[in-house]
Amino acid sequence: MSATTSTRVVRVPEETHNEATQVAALRQVQAGELLAEAWREYMENHRKEFAADLEQVAKLLRDGTLEQLAEFTSRNADARAAKAIERLNSKRRSPDARAEKDATSEDSKERIHA
């Protein structure tokens, strides 16, 4: 990475940051430069996978059915749904916030009692 290359900020896990910083120091390069190199390796390693997926889509478009194409598109549906559930669980209101909001509802006579 040259000194004139523009840079952007990205958040990485602290552990990744620490390890990258340590290895970069040993190699006498900047941590960002090391991460950029890792990214190029990632792209190179996944290029074949991406190309194979494209080939599979092309084959489905050529010889398959829309249902098969939809199945390919949804191949990670379960994993995506698991992440959605994690997101929903993380959005649960805290007990304090809940109590406050429930009280508001009770005051406005909109509360549904058991």
Partner: protein, 253 residues
């Protein structure tokens, strides 16, 4: 999100499509409360009174006026009423643009099978809210709608892009906002197609999947697309990703 305008006000698989979200029923509610198959399509339950109320009340308003609380899940679940005693519970997931009917029953104050204690019991058992299987089915329905639409719309978009100077912008499959730029490289007798796409409804790129992008690319023209860092005439927006392909003369569809 993936709501082609031609589907608004209609059922599609397990969904009823509204302008800004879709309505769905959880598998548990279908099976245990509505006496339907847990994989029932929405059109098979449209005749039920509570489902009519669900469509009528939630097609334009994502929440009701009364919450069902307190719930141990901590989520906001809204009362849906029809007639004297038909009651339902709905849950609005704004991030996914979906409203779920999560429970149905009769309201009989003091009775052992009154709807509201039933609702709270379901919540306490972690059976009130949509499950991972419900959401996965929603994704599969959406992907099916996307695939059906994109295979028709992508070739039309490509044709329009070839007739447009500069970048041609459109929405594909109701889900992807796409910018297409086509350049003729005369010295190589080749044509380069560059596509940038992003979620049509805005929001983060995470709402688009790699598979959707791959289906879009190959529906435009089959070949070896590669990722690219900018469009021919501009930098990418933060929520965009772009791919390009170069084809020798005669290969463009």
């Amino acid at each position: 999100m993936d709501r082609p305008t031609s589907l608004i006000g209609k059922t599609a698989g397990g969904a009823y499509i509204c302008t800004d979200w879709e309505l769905r029923v959880t598998a548990r509610c279908l099976d245990e409360d509505l006496n339907a198959s847990e994989n029932a399509d929405f059109d098979t339950i449209l005749g039920l009174e509570i489902v009519k109320a669900f469509v009528k009340d939630r097609a334009t308003q994502p929440t009701g006026s009364k919450r069902i609380n307190p719930l141990s899940s901590g989520q906001e679940v809204w009362r849906l009423g029809y007639g004297h005693d038909h009651r339902g519970a709905t849950f609005y997931d704004e991030d996914e643009a979906v409203i779920w009917l999560t429970a149905y029953g009769r309201h009989r104050s003091g009775a052992s099978d009154d709807f509201f204690p039933y609702c709270k019991q379901l919540d306490a058992e972690s059976r009130l809210l949509p499950t991972q299987q419900d959401i996965a089915r929603m994704y599969r329905d959406r992907d099916r709608r996307f695939v059906n639409a994109v295979t028709i719309e992508a070739p039309l978009a490509l044709k329009a892009a070839r007739e447009t100077e500069g970048e041609y912008c459109c929405t594909i499959g109701g889900e992807l906002g796409a910018g297409l730029a086509i350049e003729v490289i005369e010295e190589l007798e080749a044509t380069s197609i560059t596509v940038a796409f992003r979620p049509a409804a805005g929001g983060p790129l995470t709402t688009v999947t790699m598979e959707q992008g791959q289906v879009l690319l190959q529906s435009l023209t089959c070949g070896k697309w590669g990722m690219i860092g900018r469009m021919p005439s501009r930098d990418l927006e933060p929520d965009e990703v772009a791919f390009t392909i170069t084809l020798v003369a005669g290969e463009v569809a």
